[in-house]
Amino acid sequence: MREHEKPKVLIVDDDDSLRQIYARYLSAEGFQVAQASNGEQALLDFQDSRLDAILLDIRMPVANGQVLMPALQKSHPHAHIIISSCYDLDFQKEMIGGADSYFNKAEGCRALLGKLKAVLAKHPGNPAVR
């Protein structure tokens, strides 16, 4: 991520209303936000885009997060991946290998912002270290 650029985050979630809520909130907080409603769209539409972070819903139709994560890690090795789900972390342990962080949707937007800033601050401008 270059210093003068806003960090770019891709939100991949099949829940339109939650995705739009996050997009609006993060835009207001200074992020560039892109959206995809399923895994296939995320891979096809953003393959060549610079992404600093990806908020990836784990349960989606058409390539869920579990299937999608290895492909995204390959196409965007510098992007930090935050897995998002409605479930508690302990229900998802087996699904989050390789992700940088985990966001429970019930934590709200402020918590999401905190997690995004934390992963971006950990390795600013560097490839994601997992």
């Binding site: 909130y25 019930a106 934590e107």
Partner: protein, 83 residues
């Protein structure tokens, strides 16, 4: 073998599937209630204190319901998971 006495593995599997579906269907709207009530509370800075209290109650009750749902799911998972 399951922890619940007399329960067959097929029955336990059905119960796990049912709980998973119920959990999934309730968690998503709950996340929206919690998220939107938090956002409204942040955005509406100039509202009547009683109205703020309503928002706060909505948010807290959403979180309480989420905690109860998580507990329930864990309990059913513990009771019906093969050891």
């Amino acid at each position: 073998m399951t922890e619940a006495p007399g329960m067959t593995e097929d029955a336990a599997k059905e119960i796990r599937k049912f709980i998973h579906t119920i959990n999934h269907d309730l968690q998503s709207p709950l996340a929206k209630i919690i998220t939107l009530s938090e956002l409204l509370s942040e955005k509406l800075t100039d509202i009547d204190p009683a109205d703020r209290e309503y928002l706060l109650r909505m948010h807290e009750n959403g979180k309480r319901m989420k905690a109860q749902l998580d507990d329930l799911t864990r309990q059913f998972a513990d009771r019906t998971t093969p050891r």
